[in-house]
């Protein structure tokens, strides 16, 4: 009997492949299947080359595997809306890396415990994963009336989905800052920088506070950066400054380079968050099986 929870990835694109590389290192998850819809997809070939079963039959291939308990969806929001109901009906837990936001917004270091029992969890956006922990880090030791984040990513790391729906990024991120970060009002800004060689992902968090001790805020932010770095090794805190009623936090994210280039820290933090959620779900499933 396996000591690891069987999992599958739907969507063998760049994100799906990067996630595959992370899951192959897991001690709690066993990646059983990579499913796509194009038999000629290089992602399916990459999976096969790594010894992972690969199928072009999409969600049907996953439904045919009763053993698979956890499904990572790295397709698109539209495809997710079609796939998620059938996967959930089949009793599989879905970790959603698309902007579909069917399930609750989840940030591993902030609210994962609250949502481990849900059939579907959503990972918001890369900007959300990078900044919401810092909003929360300030909000847990001070009263935050407004938070604002600026996510700057390398143009080369912004795919067509992000480019065609850039409003979706800013609106979803802002809503998630409010809901998960726990602040009444938020704004999100995204900037694409085409510099060559590409820049690492940069994020700035501004929080307007009405109380709180500057040292306590700095300590909370430092502790949060360490918690994130435990699963995103390239997450670095550059600055935490408190001037008057404004807290400024700056971070830089260097990707692990599992499949995607290291400048794509924005994509790395998404796949790392997905893997982290998967680990926790697997632990829960394995504990349930043992009980």
């Amino acid at each position: 009997m396996s000591e690891r929870a069987p999992a599958a990835i739907l969507g063998p694109g760049n994100i799906g492949t990067d996630l595959m590389m992370k899951l192959l290192r897991s001690e709690r998850l066993s990646l059983e299947l990579m499913a796509g819809i194009d038999p000629a997809s290089p992602g399916l070939a990459r999976a096969a080359a790594h010894g992972v079963a690969a199928s072009p039959d999409g969600v049907e291939a996953i439904l045919a595997r009763d053993d698979v308990r956890i499904v990572f969806d790295a397709t698109s929001a539209r495809a997710h809306h079609a796939n998620a109901p059938v996967l959930e009906e089949a009793g599989k837990v879905v970790v959603d890396l698309t902007p579909a936001a069917r399930g609750p917004y989840v940030v591993p270091t902030v609210n994962l415990d609250e949502h481990l029992g849900e059939p579907n969890v959503n990972l918001i956006t890369c900007g959300g994963q990078a900044t919401i922990p810092m909003v929360h880090a300030v909000a847990r030791v001070a009263t935050v009336s407004y938070a604002e984040i600026v996510a700057t990513i390398a143009s080369a790391s912004a795919g067509p989905g992000t480019r065609q729906n850039i409003d979706e990024f800013t609106q979803t991120t802002a809503r998630a800052i409010e809901r998960v970060g726990g602040v009444p009002d938020a704004k999100a800004i995204i900037i694409l920088n085409p510099a060559s060689p590409p820049l690492l992902m940069r994020d700035t968090v501004f929080a307007r506070v009405s109380d709180g001790d500057a040292d306590a805020i700095r300590e909370s932010v430092r502790a949060m950066a360490a918690d994130i770095a435990a699963y995103v090794p390239g997450y670095r805190l550059l600055l935490c400054d408190v001037v008057d009623d404004i807290v400024t936090v700056m971070v830089e994210i260097e990707g692990a380079g599992d499949f995607l280039p290291t400048y794509a820290g924005n994509l790395d933090i998404m796949t790392a968050a997905a893997a982290q959620v998967g680990e926790r779900l697997a632990a829960r499933i394995l504990a349930g099986a043992a009980a």
Binding site: E148, V150, T152, S155, P160, R163, Q164, N165, I166, D167, F169, T170, Q171, K187, I189, I190, I191, L192, N193, P194, A195, L199, R202, T204, F206, R208, L238, L239, D241, V243, I246, T248, M250
Partner: protein, 333 residues
């Protein structure tokens, strides 16, 4: 040739006053511009709709309050708004249209036109005069700029601008970019200048000679960095060059002197920091933010700007000013 004049005093000019114009002040300026015959008047936060933020500066009023104050003052001019996708959203353009905006300018960094597809298409389909705005165009070779401009035209833009956001172009560079767009596109071409190297009016004249038919300026040159092309000067020069603008130069220079000058908070000149913007090729809106950061961290604003230019920062990255200033002061890491 006939040239369409767009006034930017109440949008780009907002940078000069740290986004603190009141709706009543905007109404007063817009009325004078409209009566002088300016065809299009742009109103918004300096960074466009939704720009009011800690990152760019919190405006004195909301974009909708500004539009509501200006719209009833206009008898002839088209009320315009600016949107930078990634900062504001299409929802805010829709609200602006409901508040009276009839022209939409959709701006991206010069290499990123495809992030504006949904916004440009929507504006064109919903009856707004739709203008694409390619910022920091000094960073891109003319032929490559034309490829991006063609994308904006394909989405529905009726005019595409080469925008010299850093005021880093000289007249030949401005003309080359307009010519490249002229050759590649069927739609009209515009040019938006900044005066950091003292070339704003000259670059605009060169752009018109190269085929641009839409030109921006602002009263007294109000705008980010050393400001835009000084509108009353620009219109007089275009007139002398034989181009019809439909603008009454004396009425415009009265508006500059009697209406705008009393509202200004600082002289709109090429001071040492503004000069460094053009010299380093840095986004003009960084001016006041850089001065503040330089003071906060005890470093020279020019050193900060040169470093930002070396790092190839683009418009909207005001947070990197803090980062660079802190780093120069040995405060990060």
């Amino acid at each position: 040739m006939s040239v369409q004049i767009v006034d930017s005093s109440l949008r780009d000019g907002m940078h000069s006053v740290a986004h603190q114009f009141t709706p009543a002040q905007m109404a007063q300026v817009a009325r004078a511009l409209d009566r002088a015959g300016v065809g299009t008047i742009e109103v918004a936060h300096g960074d466009g709709l939704g720009g009011s933020s800690i990152q760019y500066g919190v405006a004195a009023s909301s974009d909708l309050d500004y539009l509501a104050a200006v719209a009833p003052e206009l008898e002839r001019a088209s009320l315009a708004v600016l949107l930078l996708p990634g900062i504001g959203t299409l929802a805010q353009v829709k609200e602006a249209q409901a508040a009276g905006a009839r022209t939409a300018r959709i701006a991206t960094h010069c290499t990123e036109a495809d992030i504006a597809q949904q916004h440009i298409s929507w504006c064109r389909e919903h009856g707004m005069r739709t203008i694409g705005f390619l910022m920091m165009s000094h960073m891109l070779a003319p032929a490559d700029l034309a490829v991006q401009a063609a994308l904006m035209e394909s989405y529905g833009a009726e005019v595409v601008y080469a925008v010299d956001s850093a005021g880093a172009l000289l007249p030949d560079g401005a003309a080359e970019r307009v010519q490249a767009l002229r050759q590649q596109l069927d739609c009209e071409i515009g040019f938006h200048a900044h005066n950091n190297l003292g070339c704003a009016v000259g670059n605009s004249l060169a752009a018109v000679d190269a085929g641009a038919t839409w030109i921006d300026g602002s009263l007294r040159g109000l705008g980010a960095g050393a400001g835009n092309a000084q509108l009353e000067v620009l219109c007089a020069a275009l007139d002398r060059a034989g181009h019809a603008t439909g603008v009454d130069v004396f009425a415009l220079s009265d508006a500059a002197e009697d209406v705008m000058a009393p509202l200004m908070r600082r002289p709109q000149i090429v001071d040492r920091t503004a000069l460094a913007l053009g010299y380093a090729g840095v986004y003009s809106s960084f001016l006041l933010h850089t001065e503040r950061a330089a003071e906060r961290f005890g470093v020279d604003a020019r050193d900060v700007l040169i470093e930002l230019g070396a790092r190839k920062m683009v418009g909207g990255q005001e947070d990197m000013i803090i980062d660079v200033a802190a780093e120069l002061a040995g405060r990060t890491g």
